[in-house]
């Protein structure tokens, strides 16, 4: 969930929402004249507020500017956040920022490498370089798509079915999967259009995205509902795991369920469903046997 970096009420309350990750923004949601105020505010509140184990990320201004460099110095010093670049077009963008972060870690006595990073792809060049970006550093936890800037770069506009985003989404997804990091979809700005939002979340889930960026707490429930496995999916996955366990006990090399062969991809998908179900709180660890 994006949180504007100069709004104390929103920063304070962000922790009460049932989201996995909170992203404090020092960039686009903060006016030029208030960059210093937002930096001090996010810095002091991060050192004080308990966010109950949620992943914390700060989107900084361009690290190639004085403002962005000071953002890095402040936020890395909190030792609590991952750094999200504002716009990533190539591996060198990531590596340049990483170098600055490493220098700050050394200066502050922070274990080098402990500050994680996230890339944000917002242009055609960035999309084409997605693979290099994804593999650029071990600090990277994920890649996000910035759809508004991207469609502007393409010289088009956003549509209801997202046709213009399909290539970018797929490129980012392949790169993230190949590198073993998360792929996070863009925000949906029309907070009053729940139906449109749900359609988009369903689409990106089907594509394989790990999650969705949101800008309003009203968008939390639709994402959770769509990403939470259904009872039918959970039961089917538990049955797969039961079949695996039974075959193992019998020493059987061939495993079938309802007449269909269960091979490695089927098991992997079943395990993912159960992991998601557990993360959503609809399946307890002790329910049924599973790996």
């Amino acid at each position: 969930m994006f949180v504007p970096g100069n709004n104390p009420g929103m920063i304070r309350d962000a922790g009460i929402y049932d989201v996995d990750s909170i992203m404090f923004d020092l960039e686009d949601s903060v006016s030029v004249g208030e960059k210093d105020a937002a930096r001090f505010l996010v810095y002091e509140m991060l050192r004080t507020i308990d966010y109950h184990g949620k992943e914390l990320i700060v989107r900084v201004n361009s690290p190639d500017t004085g403002t962005g460099l000071e953002d890095l110095r402040a936020m890395v010093s909190t030792r609590r956040v991952a750094i999200r670049l504002p716009k990533t077009e190539c591996a060198e963008d990531v590596l340049g920022c990483e170098k600055k972060i490493a220098a700050i870690e050394r200066e502050r006595g922070i274990p080098e490498g402990s500050t994680r990073m996230m890339a944000a792809i917002e242009s055609a060049v960035g999309v084409l370089n997605a693979k290099e970006i994804a593999f650029s550093t071990k600090r990277l936890i994920g890649i996000a798509l910035g759809a508004e800037d991207y469609v502007t770069d393409l010289k088009t506009t956003r549509s209801a079915d997202g046709t213009e985003l399909l290539f970018a989404r797929c490129m980012i997804l392949q790169a993230a999967r190949a590198a073993g990091i998360d792929a996070i979809d863009s925000v949906y700005s029309d907070v009053d259009n729940e139906e449109g939002f749900r359609s988009e979340v369903a689409l990106i889930k089907q594509l394989g995205f790990d999650g969705k960026s949101i800008i309003n707490p009203r968008q939390i429930k639709p994402v959770q509902e769509i990403y939470t496995p259904t009872k039918k999916e959970i039961d089917r996955s538990l049955a797969v795991m039961d079949a695996i366990e039974e075959a193992r006990k019998k020493g059987s090399g061939v495993i079938a369920l309802n007449g269909k062969m269960i091979d490695k991809p089927v098991v992997a998908r079943a395990q993912r469903v159960l992991d998601l179900a557990r993360a959503a709180g609809v399946l307890k660890q002790e329910d049924k046997n599973e790996r």
């Binding site: 709004n7 009420g9 210093d36 105020a37 930096r39 001090f40 505010l41 509140m45 004085g66």
Partner: protein
């Protein structure tokens, strides 16, 4: 740090505090506070403002604050911002993490 000009930071939105810092005539840190929670937290708010300025090495300033229920960390942040603006300082010398 020395206050050279008047500067303001923060807003009058709920949970925020608007802090204006101006040079004073050398008679220490003077604080004029208008707070929605004056009775419960007025003393604490003044303490946080004073302590923040003292930590920044400022021993003389005229402070006007309009508080709308800000937490101590928010007061701290807004005073730091206003002070840096009033001193004409950027943050390059600020030691984050201490």
């Amino acid at each position: 740090m020395k206050i050279k000009q008047s500067a303001v930071a923060g807003t009058m939105e709920s949970s925020d505090i608007m802090v204006t810092i101006a040079p004073s005539d050398g008679s220490g840190i003077q604080i004029e506070l208008n707070s929605t929670v004056e009775k419960q937290f007025g003393q604490e708010i003044r303490r946080v403002i004073r302590d923040t300025l003292t930590k920044l090495g400022i021993d003389s300033a005229s402070v006007t604050a309009v508080d709308k229920g800000a937490l101590n960390c928010v007061i701290h942040a807004r005073v730091e911002t206003a002070a840096h603006r009033a001193c004409g300082e950027n943050h390059a010398d600020y030691v984050w993490g201490e």
